[in-house]
Symmetry: C2
Subunit: 204 residues, 2 copies
DNA sequence: GTCTATACACAGATAGAC
DNA sequence: GTCTATCTGTGTATAGAC
């Protein structure tokens, strides 16, 4: 890698990092190209040497996130495939899944919020629903597994999975950015675990 | 009311109606003043004779919504006060509450989405959390009631109520605008009822 | 590769005629 | 009250020097 190319990579990286900060502070739509370049200590024009537009930058951030996520998974699970035969009726396993999802949202907040915000901007499309179902696809597979095992589910697996995902993500968007809600991560995850395990009023 | 004032009221009403349509189609932030006036068949300048800005218009829509909601409640319940002693562990009462909330979202979708979208634009603030807790305050009171009655809750009432509200609203935002999800209102409400009553896997 | 300077598009808002 | 015409601010994107 030549010295110029290296410098370029450095600038691209600085712009991405600045973008994450700005998206979190101002919101995706409110963030101007100049906000990003200023925060990165670069000039306006420099932006377009690396990204064609703000949306293109967001896609790049999304890819980075997926790359990191893949790396994380690979570290724990060599197959790279999440096994479907998890028992969500088991408190520990359910909790582990919720905690993992919560942690992913926490550590990728800027990108998740930006994605969410930009998706919201085009309501007519079913983009929000597709996003939700694809995000909760793994959950749905677990529920399918339970159903095949003989458990009696309370509704269509896809819909139940979507409802869980909706609760989780909306709560994350409300709680995580501010930090003023006053509940710890553990408290939130515990509460959701119990809620999903036994319903509103715990049986046991 | 003079003939000019009457005409003015008519224009204001037309602008509001057009705004609702446009917000739903294009999203709040994407909707331009000219989109609204064009859809209402009025001129650009006319807008500012009635509203100071797009945000002010949204506030007016919000007030209309509240006014209608109050009228609905008053029709059913003369006190205007929603009683706190509802038993959410009773399937029928729980379902009724969820169905009512779902219906409110459906019939006020444009305003709810616009509000949500504009709130999203300022992330640093805890606006989302405050909105969520205030929207679910009635729910929280019901949970407080259960707790006082002796039921063992699975977490802080405020947090549980927020989780329920999060699930409901996020699902509404995903399903209602598109109509492509393929689930009927009844199916959604039934599923949520069971999920909240007995947890992921129904006990009975 | 990165900078400065600038062109261009567009939405918000106002002024004045009718 | 409502219209047409217009001004102004602001953000995106490009051109060309270094």
């Amino acid at each position: 890698m030549g010295v110029r190319a290296e410098q370029a990579a450095q600038t691209a990286s600085a712009l991405k990092q600045a973008a994450r900060e700005q998206f979190l502070q101002r919101g995706y739509l409110n963030t101007k190209i100049t906000d990003i370049t200023a925060a990165a200590g670069r000039s306006t024009g420099s932006f377009y040497d690396h990204f064609g537009s703000k949306d293109e930058l967001l896609q790049a951030l999304l890819e980075d996130m997926h790359r990191d996520a893949r790396a994380d998974v690979t570290g724990q699970d060599l197959s790279g495939q999440h096994p479907a035969d998890h028992d969500l009726t088991d408190r520990a396993q359910l909790r582990a899944h919720l905690a993992a999802a919560w942690q992913v949202m926490r550590s990728n907040l800027p990108v998740m919020m930006a994605l969410f915000e930009s998706g919201m901007a085009e309501p007519g499309s079913d983009r929000a629903w597709r996003q939700l179902t694809s995000d909760t696809d793994m959950l749905r597979r677990h529920l399918d597994f339970l159903q095949q095992r003989g458990d009696r589910l309370l509704g269509p697996p896809e819909l139940v999975a979507a409802a869980m995902g909706a609760m989780l993500s909306m709560l994350a968007y409300s709680i995580l950015p501010g930090g003023t809600a006053g509940y710890s991560d553990d408290q939130v995850v515990d509460t959701l675990t119990e809620l999903l395990r036994t319903g509103l009023v715990g049986g046991s």
